[in-house]
Point group: C2
Chain length 436, copies 2
C-alpha cells in the first residue's frame, strides 16, 4: 500500500504568492571545492600525460581492465554492428526521429551574406561550420540514444566535418541503442571514456583523441564542472539544471493526460520540476486525483513522488491572462499550452525553451521525434538562451572590403573618434587611407 501523494497547491491571488513561487523555482547548482579540486587535477593530468592518464582514470573510475588506449576506441564498424543488434522496430523509430530532426534543423542553417555600398565598399558576414565538435554521452541509466541524435545531427547539418563522441562504459556495459543512434546520426569517431578526463581530452587533445572546438552534451557534476573549466579553450553548451515542465491548461484536457505529462518530467530525477497552472480550481482537484490514481502504476513511482512532492505545484490563477504572466515569470524549459486556442496566447509568451501547443502535443513527442531539439534552456535561462541548434555549430566572421573612396571617407570619422579615445596609431592608420 503506497502512501497518498501530496502535491503543493498555490493560488496566484494569495498575497505571498510571488515569494512562494520564487522559493519554488530557486535552484543553484554549486560545484563544491572538493569537486573543483579533483576536476582540476584530472584536467592537468590529461594535459600532461595524455592517453596514459585516460587509461588510468578509466581503469579506476569505470572499473575497466584496459591495457592501452586502443581498447578505448570503437571503430565505425562497431557502430554499424549495433544497428543489427537492436530490434527492427527500434531501428525504424530511430530513423524516423533522425529524419525529422534533420529536416527541422535544416531550416536553421544560416548562410553568408554581403552587400555593396554606393562607393563600392563591401560589407557582410561569412558563416562557417566548426572544424570539429565533441559530444559527451553519459554512461549507465542516463545514457539516452535520443540525446545522441539531438546533439550530433545539428552539428552534421551545420557541416561540421568531424563529430567525436565520448561515452563511458562502466564495467564494460555498452548501450547498443546509443551506438546505433551514433551510427544513424553520422558520428565519426567514438571513444569509450567519460567523466572529467573525457572532457579534458576533447578540450586539449591527447595522442589518440583529437582536440575539438566545442563540447556539447549532458553529464554529471564532474562533467559539468570540467566543462566550466575548459570553457574559453573550447566552446561549451549551456550547463543544464534539472529538467522542468510548466503545463498551462484551461481545464478541458483529460486530467489523466495532464497527470501523465507531469509524470513524464518528474520521472527524470528527484530534482525535476513539474508545475500545472489552471484557472479552473475543480480541474486542479481532478488532476490531483489522477496523480493519486496513476502514481502506483508507474515504474519510477518513487522518483516521481519525490519530485512532485518536493518541487511540483498545482497553481490556481484568475484567468488565462494571469496564467501567461506566471509562465513568463517562470521562463520554463518546456511549456505545454493545453488549451482550446493556443495560437491566441502564443504572441504573449516571451520566454520558453519549447512551446507545446494544444491538447495533443505531449512534451514526450518533442523529446523524441517531432523534430525540434530536446536540449533546451533550464532554470529560467530561456530568458536569454535558446534550444541547441545548427547555429551552435556555425560561427561568423565579419567581412569588410573598403573601396579607396570608401576608405577615404570612413577614415575621416574614424580619425576623429580614435583621437577622442587617445588612440593615435588607430587615427594615423586610418589617415593614411584618406585621399589628399
Amino acid at each position: 500500500m503506497t502512501a497518498p501523494i501530496a502535491v503543493r497547491r498555490l493560488n496566484a491571488a494569495d498575497q505571498d504568492f510571488a515569494r512562494h513561487l520564487d522559493h519554488l523555482l530557486s535552484w543553484e547548482s554549486v560545484s563544491d571545492d572538493g569537486v573543483n579540486q579533483r576536476v582540476l587535477e584530472i584536467i592537468q593530468a590529461v594535459r600532461e600525460r595524455g592517453d596514459a592518464a585516460l587509461v588510468e582514470y578509466t581503469q579506476r573510475f569505470d572499473g575497466l581492465e584496459v591495457a592501452s588506449m586502443a581498447d578505448l576506441i570503437l571503430p565505425r564498424e562497431r557502430l554499424e554492428l549495433a544497428l543489427t543488434r537492436i530490434s527492427a522496430e527500434q531501428r525504424q523509430a530511430l530513423e524516423v526521429a533522425a529524419e525529422r530532426v534533420r529536416s527541422y534543423h535544416e531550416k536553421q542553417k544560416q548562410d553568408s551574406w554581403r552587400y555593396t555600398e554606393a562607393d563600392g565598399t563591401v560589407l557582410g558576414q561569412k558563416v562557417t561550420p566548426l572544424d570539429r565538435a565533441g559530444l559527451y554521452v553519459p554512461g549507465g541509466k542516463a545514457s539516452y540514444p535520443s540525446s545522441v541524435l539531438m546533439n550530433a545531427i545539428p552539428a552534421k547539418v551545420a557541416g561540421v566535418p568531424e563529430v567525436v563522441m565520448v561515452v563511458p562504459t562502466p564495467r564494460g556495459e555498452i548501450n547498443e541503442l546509443v551506438l546505433a543512434a551514433a551510427a544513424i546520426a553520422g558520428v565519426d569517431r567514438v571513444f569509450t571514456i567519460g567523466g572529467a578526463q573525457a572532457v579534458a581530452a576533447l578540450a586539449y587533445g591527447t595522442e589518440s583523441v583529437p582536440p575539438v572546438d566545442k563540447i556539447v552534451g549532458p553529464g554529471n557534476i564532474y562533467v559539468a564542472t570540467a566543462k566550466r573549466h575548459v570553457f574559453g579553450k573550447v566552446g561549451i553548451d549551456m550547463i543544464a539544471g534539472p529538467s522542468e515542465i510548466l503545463v498551462v491548461c484551461d481545464g478541458q484536457t483529460d486530467p489523466d493526460w495532464i497527470a501523465m505529462d507531469l509524470f513524464s518530467q518528474a520521472e527524470h530525477d528527484e530534482d525535476a520540476q513539474s508545475i500545472l497552472v489552471s484557472p479552473d480550481a475543480a480541474f486542479l482537484d481532478r488532476v490531483a486525483e489522477s496523480i493519486a490514481k496513476l502514481l502506483p502504476t508507474m515504474e519510477r513511482a518513487e522518483i516521481i513522488r519525490t519530485s512532485l512532492e518536493g518541487r511540483g505545484a498545482l497553481i490556481q490563477v484568475a484567468d488565462m491572462a494571469q496564467a501567461i504572466i506566471v509562465a513568463n515569470r517562470i521562463a520554463p524549459e518546456h511549456l505545454e499550452l493545453s488549451v482550446a486556442d493556443p495560437e491566441a496566447w502564443l504572441p504573449e509568451i516571451r520566454h520558453a525553451g519549447a512551446i507545446f501547443m494544444g491538447r495533443y502535443t505531449a512534451e514526450a513527442l518533442g523529446d523524441y521525434v517531432a523534430g525540434p531539439n530536446h536540449v533546451l534552456p533550464t532554470s529560467g535561462t530561456a530568458r536569454f538562451s535558446s534550444p541547441l541548434g545548427v547555429y551552435d555549430f556555425q560561427k561568423r566572421s565579419s567581412i569588410i572590403f573598403c573601396s579607396p573612396d570608401g576608405a577615404s571617407e570612413l577614415g575621416k570619422s574614424a580619425s576623429v573618434l580614435a583621437r577622442g579615445e587617445s588612440l593615435t596609431a588607430h587615427a594615423r592608420s586610418a589617415e593614411y587611407r584618406i585621399k589628399p
Copy 2:
C-alpha cells in the same frame, strides 16, 4: 635617444616553427584565488544589502563622496547634456558611426519561422528579444565611446526594450564622449557604478538597479571574474583576452601603412599581439625599418614597443597558400588581407573574428565606423565563436503544434524510443495521443 626595437622573426620553413608559433600564441587568463574570493564577497554583499552595498563599495573603490544611491543615477537629460559638451565634429563622427553600425546590424536580425506538414502539424521557431540588457563600460582611460555604440546598438536593433549601462566615475571623472555615445545609441538608464559590484547589481538587481537578462561589455579582471560567477543567472558575452591582429601581406602595400596597422593593435596594451605574415622576406625587412622609423613618433611608443617585442612577430612563409594555413592556425581576432586579390583567398579562410580585405581596409576603420561590430572573439576563440551581434540579444523558442493525426503517428515512434530508455511515463504520455 630611443633604443632600437627588435621584433621577433620567424620562418615557417624552420623545423620548430609550429612549436615557436604555439608558444607565441599561448595565453591563459587566470583569476587567482584572491581575486575570486574578493569577487564572491562583493557579489554576496550586493545580493544581501543591495543599494547600501553599492554606495559603500563606490565610496571605497572609486573614491566618490556619495550620500545615497540617488547620487549614482544619471538621468537621460545628463546624457543629452553631454551631446552639447562635445565638439560638433565629434558629435557628427559619433552619429555617422552609429548610423552605419545600426544599418549593418539590421541585416543580422532574425525572424520567427514556421512550416506546416501534410497532416497539419506545425513546427517552427519563435524569435524574441531579451527583456533587458546590461552594458558594462570601464572607467578611466579604457572608457571607449565606440564600445558603447558597438554594445548598445545591436541590443536596440534586436528590440531589447531596456538597455541599462553602468560606468564607474573614479574620483568623479565623467567621460562626456561616453555619455554622448550612450545618448546616441539609445541607452535607457545609466548608473555610475563599476567593478564586481556593478556586475552583481545587474545580475541580481537592487532596490534601484533592475536585474538584467544578459551582461555585455569589457572590464578588468574583477569585472571578468564577476561575469564568470554570475553566468547562468544571466547570460554574458565572451570573456575577452588581449586584442590581436594578423596582417597577411603580399609585399606590395606601403610598409609604413602596415607598420601603423601593427601599431594600432599594439597601442591597446602591453599584452596586445600584432603579427605580420608575408612570403616576401625583403618586405618584412622594409616593415621592420618602418617600425623603427615610426615608433619614436608615436604617443604610446613604450606600450607599442613592449607589445611588439614581447608578443609581436614578422613571419616569413613560402607563399600565400602557406600564409592562409598560418592564419587558420591562429584564428585571429582581426585578419587583414593586404593583398592584390583578397577575394581569391577568402574561401580558404576558416577562422577569423573579422576579415579586413585589401590594402585600403585598415582595421581602424572597422574599429569605429565601417559598420560591423568591434567586439570580436580573441585568443583563437574565433574557431567556435562570433562577433557580438543582434543574435546575442535575441533568443529562440521551439514551436510544436501537433494535429490529432500527427500526434497519433509521432506517438508510435516516441513510445518505442521512450521504452528503449526505460522512461515509461514519457511512453504513456505519448500513447494517450495514439488513435485507437
